[in-house]
Symmetry: C2
């Protein structure tokens, strides 16, 4: 995976436990029948942390999202733990909030912390009765195994059709203090732009004022998670939680103009963009990561809307799966993007680690070698590079190809 | 195919040649290499007709659309013929308009009619050089074979990945005069709501004032073609042409309050809804027609937006392919529809010729027999029936399931 490089930031291991003071665990409590597949997880801070969250904008919202939002309100934005499960989304059920509260209560009791400092996230089938007893019965065991090394066990507990765990973390310095910021994400299908968050849990050992934590999260959701599409379907349970516990020491970041805030925003960008690329690459049935970079736009919004339109097109996605340089479909998707665009100025290149080729200039096709194009598209990371020649603004979006396996995976997901 | 019944209207054969005075033909001129596959077609009126048209809203517009719009402007909305080809969309080419004009000129010359009374439509690959010589060389042969019986040859000339020809016609009476209205459509992929027109040619032997012809077309595009989605991709070459030649006699329809206008609107609705159902059922790789009926809406717009959101969801489409009653995905798609909705009032039923089953009441799941659900979903025409319980307005949308074959067809369409 080709992560963005930025001076002063170093990619490190350990995901959501890269930051000091955080530990995690996961196990199979029995919601899931598959032996060896974790279905219950937890991320824990050894001290009070500030927490910020972003939720799906779907009007059907999972009960865990409502309970998490309630808890953050009651606790004044403070949290100690996030408890999470897969296999059942706890959504569209008349007793969903009660079940979500019971999950938090079990964790709070096992950890001896206030219930409102426990956040909760669920993923899986919507509208299926949810038996929370296995969660309650396994909570002590889950908590007793908390350890920084078990970050991967928590990640495994929220994986559904994901084929690989997704973790990214970075290390950086501000005024001689070393900080870490890292996270985990799950998500494979039911992902679309404009609040395609999937489930993500990100932690840092910086000390950050709650309003700046939320601000940094919002800024980066717009640039990363909201520019990701796998299938255009928006989940009911999407949520990102960002926790900052201050365990690294140093001053509290409380000024949006400070060096500390800038470092926080950049670190978060790197981690969230990395997670988004991993989510796109592991999209259901995906064989390729597709990035669309748009430059020369009149506004960042225009560039972003066009980039999202291209990576969301089923026909472009199928062409990429078939490694077919059918650039007319790219132009077609630019043409129906919901923004103004001067089509007769548009240039398109296709690129990968195997080369770059011009396929369209001034809105019309240019001759190119099909062999070279096929070679470029045989890579598993493809860049569709669009130059609008209308201004100086840029936008990016992230997606994947559409394969037989997407249909196979989704033809009978419940069984 | 289960067509809507309406008193006073009878479905008849002959498609775009059901109306008096219209003839058609099609042949293979050589744009296409496949032996026996028509690639050039024509629909002709033996007298001057008024014509109305609706075009794609994609900002990338095929050259034939521009030339058609120009001709209708110059001719004052009068037309005698539509010439059409498949295999090449004549789009995103620097010399596209010249090529489209040459097609019209060839037809005008062979028919001895004014060039501006010839309209033109193309479908196929975007951005591929288009050699129009075979069209010119075959025009005389094409025109010499014009006959009402050859309606199907013209339809075959515009079929691309379509697996069946699509024709619907109705007969009706107004003030003791018998009229016919019928048409043909092509389209299989690259179809999405909000101006998913595909190519459609509809004719009638009524005499209709041009502004009412356009009005009846616009009204029905909104109710039918704009509620059709196969894959969410909007073509660059979509166009519907409606011609009225008055060959049946009777008075000119020139009053929107008249019985004649009402009959025109209804006839057009039946033909366009019929074509839309055939288009959805023959969507690329489709094994099922999916209709979503929404009732109890606060406005027709709300009901329509929700219906479109459901039939456009890739996850709902995959579930239908898998015959899996995963109603949570339906609720999810209702929840992200771009309109207000009180989710806690929503009821959902699944139905087909094999029965009906309630899956959701008041926004939450209700127990149902998976066996009965599987039996209902084994049909090849499925109804997702949504009751919003918020008002009295209704909306409908038409789509299909998403199968392995969609991916196969689109993985390498150009070759």
């Amino acid at each position: 995976m080709n992560f963005t490089e930025m001076e002063g930031f170093k990619y490190v291991e350990m995901g959501a436990c890269a930051a000091k003071g955080f530990s995690a665990n996961g196990l199979r409590c029995g919601i899931n029948d598959t032996p060896g597949k974790n279905d219950l997880g937890i991320v824990f801070s050894d001290r009070e942390a500030f927490a910020a969250a972003v939720y799906t904008t779907n009007k059907v919202k999972g009960a865990p999202l409502k309970v998490t939002a309630d808890h953050l309100k009651v606790s004044g934005g403070r949290a100690r733990a996030v408890v999470m499960n897969s296999k059942n989304a706890n959504t569209c059920l008349s007793d969903g909030e009660e079940k979500a509260e019971r999950m938090c209560r079990a964790a709070a009791s096992a950890l001896d912390i206030p219930e409102e400092q426990v956040l909760v996230a669920s993923t899986g089938v919507i509208g299926q009765p949810f038996d929370v007893t296995p969660v309650e019965n396994s909570m002590k065991e889950l908590v007793s195994g908390l350890s920084p090394e078990n970050h991967i066990e928590a990640e495994k507990a929220v994986m559904t059709t994901d084929t690989v765990p997704k973790e990214v973390a970075v290390r950086f310095q501000v005024e001689d203090v070393t900080y870490s910021l890292g996270g985990m994400a799950k998500g494979s299908g039911m992902i679309r732009p404009d609040m395609a968050t999937t489930l993500s849990f990100i932690t840092t050992d910086m000390d950050v004022a709650p309003e700046l934590l939320q601000r940094a999260l919002n800024v980066n959701v717009k640039k990363t998670y909201n520019c990701l599409s796998v299938d255009g379907d928006m989940s009911t349970n999407d949520m990102i939680v960002l926790m900052a516990n201050g365990a690294a020491g140093g001053n509290r970041v409380d000024d949006a103009g400070s060096e500390g805030y800038k470092a926080l925003e950049n670190a978060l960008y790197l981690v969230m963009e990395g997670l988004v690329k991993m989510l796109a690459r592991d999209g259901e049935g995906a064989t390729k990561l597709i990035e669309c970079h748009v430059s020369g736009g009149v506004s960042p919004e225009q560039a972003s809307v066009i980039a999202k339109s291209v990576i969301s097109s089923n026909l472009v996605k199928c062409a990429m799966f078939g490694e077919d340089a059918n650039w007319g479909r790219i132009l077609c998707a630019i043409g129906y993007a919901e923004t103004d665009v001067d089509i007769e100025k548009v240039d398109v290149d296709l690129a990968s680690d195997k080369g770059r080729i011009a396929v369209c200039r001034d809105g019309a096709g240019v001759p190119f070698s099909e062999d070279t194009a096929a070679e470029i598209l045989s890579s598993d990371e493809i860049l569709v590079d669009v130059e609008l020649n209308s201004g100086k603004e840029k936008g990016r979006a992230y997606g994947c190809d559409l394969s037989y396996d997407y249909v196979k995976i989704n033809g009978d997901y419940r069984s």
